[in-house]
Symmetry: C2
Subunit: 83 residues, 2 copies
DNA sequence: CGTGTAAGGAATTCTGACACG
DNA sequence: CGTGTAAGGAATTCTGACACG
């Protein structure tokens, strides 16, 4: 598992599809990005593109928010993991 | 490998993205569908949704067409495989 | 047969903002 | 703080058709 054609990490899914897959509103998804919790790609026209990994992350973020965790704390957690 | 969350087979990619990934025109991609060579899903609004598997199939189809194979023949081949 | 294109409409996405709290 | 919504614009996708061959 190094560099390759990992379908799971390819950013190719548009926000509308992500909404269907996660049950989250586009507003929420964009807000989590604004808060630095995920980093979708962009099409040439500026449209967001997500990967299946992003979708999994979104589900996790939604769960944590339901538990009362602040976006700020979720972000700190993320930093810890990526070290 | 039975029923599960196979990212590779999830139909979530819109045609514009497929064009970028394959280098094929939307016209070609829709035509191959019309000829029965692949079966994308559809969003609620009627927009085509492709999987990574569909994209791989498209690359293969494009190669065969370049070699002079007719869509009709490619379709027959497909039938043979799916038996 | 395989593919380009102009045509018109419908649906999507984008951003910045006001709202509530 | 997290999220809904109306606002206006820009880009996407869809279908059926004419074109060439």
């Amino acid at each position: 598992m190094a560099m390759s054609e990992k379908f799971k990490d390819k950013k190719v899914i548009m926000i509308g599809t992500v909404c269907e897959l996660t049950g989250l509103s586009a507003r929420k998804i964009r807000y989590y990005e604004e808060r630095g919790l995920l980093f979708p790609g962009r099409s040439s026209a500026g449209n967001r593109k997500y990967s299946f990994s992003d979708i999994e992350a979104l589900m996790e973020i939604a769960n944590q928010l339901e538990d009362g965790t602040k976006t700020n704390e979720i972000k700190k957690e993320l930093k810890r993991k990526n070290m």
